[in-house]
């Protein structure tokens, strides 16, 4: 914009109109062409957009979301089937898998720590490091509590927020805290019950986990 008289809008006419307001005069310059062209383009674009998105093949946000969710649930159902039946031994095996434990720890610190403390020492929720249990000492008990929640006590049902593998990882991680002795533990709650070895537990996975696909898909409608 250094030399204004060479640009495309340089005053071809620069014809001054014969009026003035408090000394302010006005030129009668035409509208810049690019300006007018862009204005027309935005105007013409409008009906085309409406036709495509509201009466044609374009997907509005809700439709796009439904499709995305269906694809996601399909994948999750496959993942769940591939994992097979979940039992005490499955979870105990996870406890030996460092990468699963790292993942479990991350989830625990992100989701569970606000109530159970960073190290499971308890807080709003019960202490997870002592031998006292409100809902049973076994890994499967923990898994079920995490999955289904204890809503009247404030424990969430995490099934809808965590994917199956995450549920298992975090349950196994929580189970691994038993016997660790973090500072500031909450006083024991519930019955004292030692945990039995996986082999000693009858393989009875009650309440077969439903594939979330069937449960959550309608909610997406």
């Amino acid at each position: 914009m250094s030399d204004e008289r060479t640009g495309p809008e340089a005053p071809q006419s620069d014809h001054l109109l014969d009026h003035a307001y408090d000394g302010i005069q006005e030129y009668d310059n035409p509208l810049p062409r690019w300006w007018l062209a862009l204005f027309w383009i935005t105007i013409v674009f409008t009906p085309l957009y409406i036709l495509y998105f509201h009466f044609g093949g374009g997907m509005l946000p809700n439709e796009r979301y439904d499709q995305e969710m269906i694809a996601f649930y399909d994948r999750q159902a496959e993942e769940l089937l591939a994992m097979g039946e979940i039992r005490e031994a499955t979870l105990a095996e996870l406890m030996a898998d460092p990468s699963m434990m790292n993942g479990g720890k991350k989830i625990f610190q992100g989701k569970c720590a606000t109530c159970h403390g960073m190290f499971g020492e308890g807080g709003i929720g019960p202490n997870l490091t002592d031998e006292h249990w409100l809902h049973g000492p076994q890994l499967m008990d923990i898994y079920r509590t995490v999955r289904d929640g204890v809503t009247d006590k404030g424990m969430l049902a995490w099934e809808r927020q965590l994917r199956p593998a995450e549920l298992m990882a975090v349950s196994a991680y929580a189970g691994s805290l038993l016997g660790s002795q973090p500072p500031n533990t909450k006083p024991p709650q519930g019955e004292r019950a030692p945990r039995a070895a996986p082999e000693a537990v009858a393989p009875a996975p009650a309440a077969e986990p439903e594939p979330p696909a069937t449960e959550a898909a309608p909610a997406a409608s």
């Binding site: 408090d22 302010i24 030129y27 810049p32 300006w35 204005f39 809700n62 989701k111 709003i124």
Partner: protein
């Protein structure tokens, strides 16, 4: 025919007053801005004091800079330019004074009530109904004064600046009135007549057009007067003025729904909002072009004149923001930008760049003329300019970066298709350094304004003992006037044989017809009103009348009395300033927060609480997510629960007594709005609230929390939070026949809410799950 020559002089005393208050309130508003910026960088600056907490101060900041700083700047500019453009003093000195003092009283009332938590919770319309009425009255006073002045003009045609002033006056009146229709429940409490989706629609019709008609049109008017004056150049194009004025006024109104993309607002409205925003791009740039191209041949002056420097930067920022606005309105861009700091950066490039710098330029131009002496220091004005510019750049660069960071982090999925940053606070912690840069930028900008203050004061000290009041002369307008014939159409001159329609179109687009309108201000005003109202009704009528816009959900029932009380606390503390209650239908959000929000969930929400910004996470599905005790501890000390949280602590909620006695009044106001509370519901409101509070307090104790909370505000707020978003997962009510004698008035929105009603009332709705 003898022409009578009138002698008259202009009232500059009123301009001096408005100019002074522009500066005073500018400093106040920006100071509060710096404080809230600090609070976001380090929550300790909330001081754990109710009246200094972010949720209450943020509205104070926005209201102060919009209505106090910009408002006074506009009035100063309008009062100065209008008299001169119309060759007449203002219509009434008394009205000018009433306008000035009334407006300042309103600002003081705002500055007192907002920190006290007295708010309607609608952004930029937070002030409660008594103040709203005062605003309406003062605005009408301004309107009468302005139109009276136009009526007494000695200039046949009205200049483009006046067009913009007219559009401002009538549109702001409409917006203000229709967005603030409320049913009061006491002097400092009220509930809007709209609920949920409709309330959100009205609010953003207002919010968007407040930007349009308070922060754009009057300032364009001011630009059209002061910029050519300062540059001493003719305006670039009269025709461009006409086209961009009318297209701006007509198109602006439609664009409001772009604030509500991906929400429960019907898709058609969101589509219109986006498309009209795109169409608004060129009309907005028309103003920018007429500003910048007017400087052709005067660019050498820009180098030496601080006034023009301010104007050039202001107009450039205007162009930038009005390009960015349409960009942000594109749905897929909005997906990334909405609820993030991007919006904050956008409005600040507009507010600090366009509004602020245009006002500063105007004030520097006015100072020597108002005080009839030289500006005290041009060097200081230059320093102000550079400090301000650096301040803006620091602010917006940091906050654009923050917005993008936040938006991308929220949407990020890992390789396996799960949220990469599942913890909201991770996305907050990343922003803190940028928030500190903002504090620095804001402080620089504020310091610049203080330099203006010093310059203002020193210039004022050099004023003459008495101001000279020049007397002007102008002929009075004759009753009769014959418009000059329109110039011949080139189409006709070319002798082409085309349909008559072509001639008409040609005449329309050449805008020569417009000259006639400019001497008929009444016709002109009516045309503006028609443009604005027609555009509004096109969107408002379907939003309110088409039932399918808000499909009824049978399990969504009115709030219990305690939840209502909690909702009032939520509103009063300004929670909506940081938390949305609107989960968008994208997987990144439903993964994080839960099922996306449905229009039918908000039918009892007077006012809606969707929010516009997520400084903290969305709360629409927070109900039942945590135990009651979590909320109690979290309110008392958020950082004890979430390390790194920047939420203010609200310890007073655990000690402040809950006002149970006003619950019945609140319920009665809601019933007047169509919420089906029965007489017995209302009579038993306080008792039901106490019962639910006792239950909740007992649960808190059971979970290991403190005792004695049953009569404290925290239980009501917790009850409300635990209720949020839970209704859609409740079991469908078993077809209870319409025995519900408690239906007070059938709802317009959900006429067949019979089933829903059966669940309503005292014990019926169990809040926390």
């Amino acid at each position: 025919m003898s022409v009578q020559i009138d002698r008259f002089s202009y009232d500059d005393a009123i301009v001096r007053k408005f100019t002074l208050m522009t500066l005073v309130w500018g400093v106040v508003g920006m100071l509060v801005g710096v404080l809230v910026a600090l609070q976001l960088a380090a929550p300790v600056f909330n001081f754990e004091l109710p009246f200094l907490s972010f949720g209450r101060l943020r509205p104070l900041h926005t209201n102060a800079v919009i209505f106090a700083f910009t408002g006074n700047a506009i009035f100063a500019g309008v009062y100065y330019s209008m008299q001169r453009l119309l060759k007449t003093p203002m219509f009434s000195k008394v009205l000018s004074e009433v306008h000035f003092w009334g407006w300042q009283a309103i600002i003081v009332a705002a500055a007192v009530t907002l920190p006290l938590g007295i708010t309607q919770s609608k952004e930029y319309a937070e002030l409660q109904w008594p103040i709203d009425i005062a605003i309406a009255v003062v605005w009408v006073v301004f309107g009468v004064n302005a139109f009276g002045t136009i009526a007494r003009r000695r200039e046949r045609h009205i200049y483009v600046a006046i067009w913009f002033y007219i559009a401002t006056i009538v549109t702001i009146a409409l917006l203000h009135i229709f967005n603030n229709l409320v049913v009061p429940a006491g002097l400092w409490r009220s509930y809007p007549i709209y609920a949920g989706v409709q309330d959100a629609f009205m609010q953003w019709w207002y919010g968007h057009n407040a930007v349009g008609f308070l922060l754009t049109t009057p300032l364009l008017g001011i630009m059209y007067y002061f910029l050519p004056k300062a540059a001493d150049r003719p305006v670039f194009s009269y025709r461009l003025s006409i086209i961009h004025f009318w297209s701006l006024v007509f198109i602006y109104i439609w664009a409001g729904p772009h604030h509500l993309h991906y929400t429960a607002l019907p898709a058609w409205a969101s589509t219109l909002g986006m498309l009209f925003s795109l169409m608004l791009w060129m009309p907005s740039w028309g103003g920018m072009l007429n500003g910048l191209l007017t400087l052709r041949g005067a660019w050498h002056k820009v180098a030496s004149d601080p006034v023009l420097k301010f104007f050039v930067v202001a107009v450039t920022f205007y162009g930038m923001s009005t390009f960015e606005g349409p960009l942000l309105s594109i749905r897929s861009v909005n997906l990334l930008s909405h609820y993030t700091d991007w919006t904050i950066a956008h409005v600040h490039s507009g507010a600090l760049g366009w509004v602020g710098f245009l006002s500063f330029g105007m004030i520097y131009w006015l100072l020597p003329r108002l005080f009839q002496t030289e500006l005290w220091s041009r060097t200081l004005a230059e320093a102000h300019f550079w400090l301000g510019t650096i301040g803006i750049l620091l602010y917006i660069v940091a906050i654009y970066a923050a917005g993008l960071t936040q938006g991308l982090m929220w949407l990020a999925f890992d390789d396996e298709g799960y949220l990469k940053y599942g913890d909201f606070v991770e996305t907050t912690l990343r922003l803190i350094p940028m928030y500190w840069v903002r504090v620095i930028g804001g402080t620089a900008y504020l310091t610049g304004t203080l330099l203006l203050g010093l310059n203002f004061f020193m210039t004022w000290r050099r004023r003459p003992a008495t101001y000279e009041v020049p007397v002007h002369e102008a002929p009075r307008l004759a009753a009769e006037y014959v418009e000059r014939p329109e110039p011949a159409s080139p189409l006709a001159a070319s002798g082409a044989h085309v349909a008559n329609l072509a001639y008409k179109l040609e005449r329309f687009f050449r805008t020569t017809w417009h000259r006639r309108w400019e001497r008929l201000p009444l016709t002109f005003t009516v045309a503006v009103v028609v443009a604005v109202v027609v555009a509004s009704l096109f969107e408002i009528i379907p939003t309110f009348l088409i039932r399918s816009n808000v499909p009824t959900i049978a399990t969504v029932t009115p709030y219990t009395p305690l939840e209502l009380a909690g909702r009032d606390i939520y509103i009063s503390e300004g929670c909506y300033n940081c938390h949305s209650q609107m989960v968008r239908p994208i997987r990144a959000e439903t993964e994080r927060y839960g099922e996306y929000s449905k229009p039918g969930e908000f039918v009892w929400d007077h006012p809606f609480q969707w929010g516009s910004r997520r400084i903290g996470p969305d709360l629409h599905r927070v109900g039942g997510k945590y135990p009651d005790l979590w909320h109690v501890r979290h309110m008392a000390d958020p950082r004890a629960i979430t390390a790194g949280s920047i939420m203010p602590a609200y310890p007073w909620l655990l000690t402040a007594p809950l006002d149970v006695d006003s619950i019945e009044r609140v319920m009665r106001a809601h019933r007047a709005l169509g919420v089906p509370y029965s007489d017995s519901d209302i009579a038993g409101g306080a008792a039901a609230a106490r019962a639910q509070a006792a239950e909740l307090a007992a649960r808190v104790v059971e979970q290991g929390g403190p005792e004695g909370l049953a009569d404290k505000q925290i239980v009501a707020l917790t009850a409300y939070l635990q209720r949020l978003g839970t209704d859609i997962t409740k079991p469908e009510p078993v077809a209870v026949e319409e025995e519900a004698g408690s239906v007070a008035a059938p709802q317009a929105r959900s006429g067949e809410a019979g089933e829903a009603v059966a669940e309503a009332g005292g014990e019926g709705a169990e809040g926390a799950s």
